[in-house]
Amino acid sequence: MITSDPTASQTAGAIILHVNGEKHALTVDHRTTLLDALRERLDLTGTKKGCDHGQCGACTLLVDGRRSLACLQLAVAAEGREITTIEGVGGSGAGQGAGPGSESGGQGELHPVQQAFLEFDGFQCGYCTPGQICSAIAMIEEHAAGWPSAVTDDVHPEAAPQPLTPEEIRERMSGNLCRCGAYMSIVQAVGYAAGARHTHSGPDEGSAA
């Protein structure tokens, strides 16, 4: 049994992408990644291309609520999935309506993670930022669901829940490279947004003083 459009050519197909609550019908070259479909076909350019090979995290978005890499996801294979990009994580219009050269970023409501990135200066050049934010939003949910990480001491399911310490945030966010090196303020922002403690006095167990 096959479900792709039999009328399309062998190497392209008509699909419907569900993005930020909207349906988009388009015919895609099977080679087209979800990343390129969003950027080149739907003008949703908030999702960035940093390496195109799953090695940097700049293209992170949510697929069925889970963080994924748009560069390794073929658009044709993303049909039927619920895709949320940086343009869709905030309230309505947070990322909409800003054309080239626009000075406004839209006036919709920001997601608490976005707000924290703004206030803690969790970015510099801003290119990895949409990916960092999408990653953080999903990561906070993963942690809340009880998923352990590589730095979780005890992965036993009956172990006490691991608080979202700066160390946990760092490990869980490591798939998002930031070449500007804004990691300190990103971790602060994520910790603050996640309601973690100690965010104002610095993200770590101790201070350098």
Partner: protein, 341 residues
């Protein structure tokens, strides 16, 4: 990337039939390795058969008291599963040590086993590589080989298998189930990967056209641990790793499982070391002797000899840690069943 056809398979028989009918076809799971390699020109399938919607995404207990893991279970779901965390903690640790949160949400169990080496010559189609282009040569032997194999390699290929998950699976005696047009079959993980020899391009013993459907874990010692060393703290492939499970009674090793990662073309089950350890005192001396016995077969190149020291040290460290958990020293310690520290 070359153009290709795409089909979404709805059931296992259909998927296998589609592949059987088209020698240029490949199964597409999470795509984290295949799509990457297609972009790099290393893989050029004419047709992709998308198997992500096959009903192979469950994890359940087997009659023998083990665990069966569907082939399309994502790495994230595998690592987070309570039964895995409770009974095979080294598997959870290994999966979590690999890739990133995003990639683990996409990558599947079956795909993990079939992923290709990250050797820099293999992934660059402008370079010779016997694995990619048989007979073209292996520049790594005299070139960059810091992360090359020290066990089981040949001068035809010194690439390492990059999987973390596979190392834990090897330690747990995993069995791989598959389906072909002719029917179902099984392969023990120890027989799954072929020796390198002079055919490094032939990587697995899977029959042609086979679809991996599940990985089954028999019951195993609960006290287990995976430790990985890499060149940055996260989001990097291993340069050496150890999966170990240990049962100690009265200071003597009763059962042990030991597997190494990033040292061979496959997850390396350290059976020589295990044989030395069974019945031996559970102390650093035995652990060192076991590692030495296993690593006596190592034939490192000039730039990767450090791996022998690294694996020896890791073996001692991980087994010592497990031995202390099994029979904690000190009056207040107690054996905590299932602790996976």
């Amino acid at each position: 990337m070359k153009e290709f056809a795409y089909r979404r398979a709805a059931d296992v028989a259909g998927a296998v039939a589609l592949l059987d009918a088209d020698p240029g076809a490949r199964f597409l799971g999470g795509g984290t390795n295949l799509v990457d390699l297609m972009k790099a020109g290393v893989e050029s399938p004419e047709r992709l058969i998308d198997i992500r919607e096959l009903p192979l995404d469950g994890i359940g207990r087997t009659e023998e008291g083990g665990l069966q893991i569907g082939a399309t279970v994502t790495n994230s779901d595998l690592a987070a599963h309570p039964e895995v965390r409770r009974r095979y903690p080294a598997l959870t640790q290994a999966v979590l040590a690999g890739a990133s949160g995003q990639l683990r949400n996409m990558a599947t169990v079956g795909g993990n086993l079939l992923q290709r080496t990250r050797c820099g010559y293999f992934t660059d189609i402008t370079q010779p590589c016997n694995k990619r282009e048989p007979g073209s040569g292996c520049p790594a032997v005299e070139g960059e080989h810091r992360n090359a194999a020290v066990l089981g390699a040949s001068h035809h290929c010194v690439a390492v298998h990059p999987s973390d998950m596979g190392v834990a699976l090897a330690a747990y005696d995993a069995v791989v189930s598959y389906q072909t047009a002719e029917g179902a079959g099984e392969l023990a993980l120890s027989d799954f990967y072929l020796p390198v020899g002079d055919t490094p391009h032939r990587e697995t013993a899977l029959p042609s056209g086979a679809l991996i459907t599940a990985v089954t874990l028999p019951p195993a010692p609960v006290r287990s641990r995976y430790r990985k060393v890499r060149e940055r703290a996260s989001y990097a492939f291993a340069i050496g790793s150890v999966a170990a499970a240990l049962e100690v009674r009265d200071g003597v090793v009763r059962e042990v499982r030991l597997a190494y990662g990033a040292v061979a073309s496959r997850p390396w089950r350290a059976r020589t070391a295990e044989a030395v350890l069974r019945g031996a005192p559970a102390d650093a001396g035995s652990f060192a002797a076991a590692a030495d016995a296993e690593l006596a077969a190592a034939s490192p190149l000039t730039g990767n000899a450090y791996k022998v020291t690294l694996l020896r040290n890791l073996t001692i460290a991980v087994l010592t840690e497990l031995a202390e958990l099994a029979e904690p020293a000190g009056p207040t310690g107690h054996d905590q069943e299932g602790s996976a520290r």
